[in-house]
Amino acid sequence: MADAAALQVLLSRVALGDRNAFRALYEATAPSLFGVAVRILNRRDRAEDVIQDAFVNVWQRAAGYSAAASRPMTWLTAIVRNRALDVLRSETLRAMETLHDAETGETDEPPDDRPDPLGLLEQASTALAVRDCMNEIQSTQRQCLALAYYHGLSHAEVAERLSAPIGSVKVWIRRGLERLKRCLDR
């Protein structure tokens, strides 16, 4: 992937309507962003739609990109994650409605074959050299953070996954985030 300065140049050209720069920006960043979207949605077809929507959004909003506020990859990742989370939430809602209407216990959701999100959090901790600090976060809190960040699960969904009360999950996530902030801001 190109470095931040090169991506900034591309974004500034995209803002001026430069289609070649737009293509170059896509080629430099789409694989990472597609990986992020697939991780959240566990569906390649939905992730493809997310990448499409995100890049159309980038084409329209590139002039509003502020280098002072975000690095290019942070800005792009936020656009993709937010779109993926919106799709995930609407899919979950539809699945619940379908389930309710059909009164059936079966869904056509594909099996979740994504690697353990906690493993990704540990990899990130190691890469950032904050593993010791992260290990001080209670393991349940770490698990909540990983499920929310990598699989896009809401408080209620995390609670269901862990068979825990939603009130406890909210507290774990809040405390986990406070600790994570201290680790990542070191």
Binding site: Q52, L153, S154
Partner: protein
Amino acid sequence: MNYDRPQLLDRLAAEYVLGSMPTRARRRFERLRAQSPAADDAAHEWERRLMPLSTPVPALEPPRHVWDRIDRRTGGNGRAARSSLAAWLRPALGFALGVLATIGVVRLYPEPIVPIAAIVQQRATLPESYVGILVDANDNAVLLASSTRHGRVLSLKRLRPLAVPPAQVAVLWALPADRAPFAVGVLPNSDKAVLSLADTSEHLFSKVPRLGVSFEASSPTPGVAPSPFVLTGHCVKLW
């Protein structure tokens, strides 16, 4: 809910960026973000903070049709590969055909359709931007500087080499009509570069008719006058 409390904004932004916030709360926070710079800043801060967590996520190559669809949805022709000539010709042809079609329609229905001509005209122009072309003492164009009107990034392209003396830096100055020059930034030593601006172009350049480049010993502090200019040029509004 009292959104003026920084701790509350920080917590909401954290849960929004993490992804654990339920749908309705997400919508509420997005509306808040659009209205409150403090909420937007808090979200940016958490996006920056959590971004490294995405690093270990394996990259995946999207199928080729994804780009084709993006290209089509943004006004391209959706073909994955095309010659540079075709890339240049397409907008020109599109514009020419658009003008011809518009002229035809306007001649048939002159009164109500006239605004479409204006729209076609608008589509053929670049976004609202500030642009400067700086020339040397021999009137050779050396530096192109451009920034969208409300952007905070200045794109720079060197059209000719600029020999900066050893131990000095080339500094880009804005020369307002009504006050002393101010430094925009140090020119990076590359043919193409971007400078982050201290404010939007609109705020910085709306009353700046000219730009200049001088050689300085170091990045100038505010209030310091520039050395003699080696490049100068007009700063124009592209709208």
